[in-house]
């Protein structure tokens, strides 16, 4: 398994290992977010998913999100691993662990991390359905790049 704090992996993710990367004596809270493969999206059944990534850039962008969190919530520690390849229903696609001195910032930072992943990390998912398949391209599950592309301030 991967021991990097910010990683893209082709293997199943161990939640415990991600948590162990952030646990520390200054933390009073460890918040974990686990993103799983959803079977039903607005009534449409997904049979399985495939994730692809531009791995070196994706890992860099995960590191960047970690740096943003350290600035916004000083004292917090973050680890993020995203799985790629073929995933079945309810498989774990992403695990985010945030350790923080107090619970409020652990929740906030965790939420921030998943939203930023959906904005700037070059990972794509393809849904396989009974009657076809498609690469999904809707940031934040709404529209493709709200303004046509990621906002300038998201890109640095």
């Amino acid at each position: 398994m991967n021991k990097k704090r910010f990683a893209i992996t082709k293997e199943a993710i161990s939640i415990e290992e991600i948590i162990n990367l952030v646990v520390n004596p200054h933390a009073g809270a460890v918040n974990t977010f686990i993103g799983t493969v959803r079977e039903f999206t607005k009534g449409k059944q997904t049979l399985s998913l495939e994730y692809d990534a531009y791995i070196p850039m994706a890992e860099k962008k995960l590191v960047q999100i970690g740096e943003e969190i350290s600035e916004k919530w000083p004292g917090s520690e973050v680890a993020i691993t995203h799985r790629i390849g073929h995933l079945a229903i309810s498989d774990i696609a992403v695990v985010i662990a945030v350790a923080a001195p107090h619970r409020a910032e652990s929740y906030e930072a965790s939420r921030y991390a998943i939203e930023r992943i959906k904005e700037v990390v070059p990972i794509w998912k393809k849904e396989h359905w009974e009657d076809g398949e498609q690469w999904i391209g809707d940031q934040l599950e709404q529209t493709a790049y709200p303004t046509g592309k990621p906002e300038k301030e998201h890109l640095s």
Binding site: A53, H82, K118, I123, W124, W135, G137, D138, Y145, K149
Partner: protein, 77 residues
Amino acid sequence: MITILFFAGHQETIGKEQIEWNKAGVTISELKRDLQEKYPALTLDQSMAAVNEEYAADDTMVNDSDIVAFIPPVSGG
């Protein structure tokens, strides 16, 4: 010579993960235009470009031996 990487739907459209491109010293928007001429089925309008693993604006100059990637709207998480 520059290297161009394609992902997700783009990769399926042109049937390749990467190509070598023999024309440096152009901007991203010029490169997009040239690629769309060569691959009419490719639609890059909604895609961001990255140069050497960092997002790049349309007026960014692409230099020799750069690695350019076209990033369709992402859907991780």
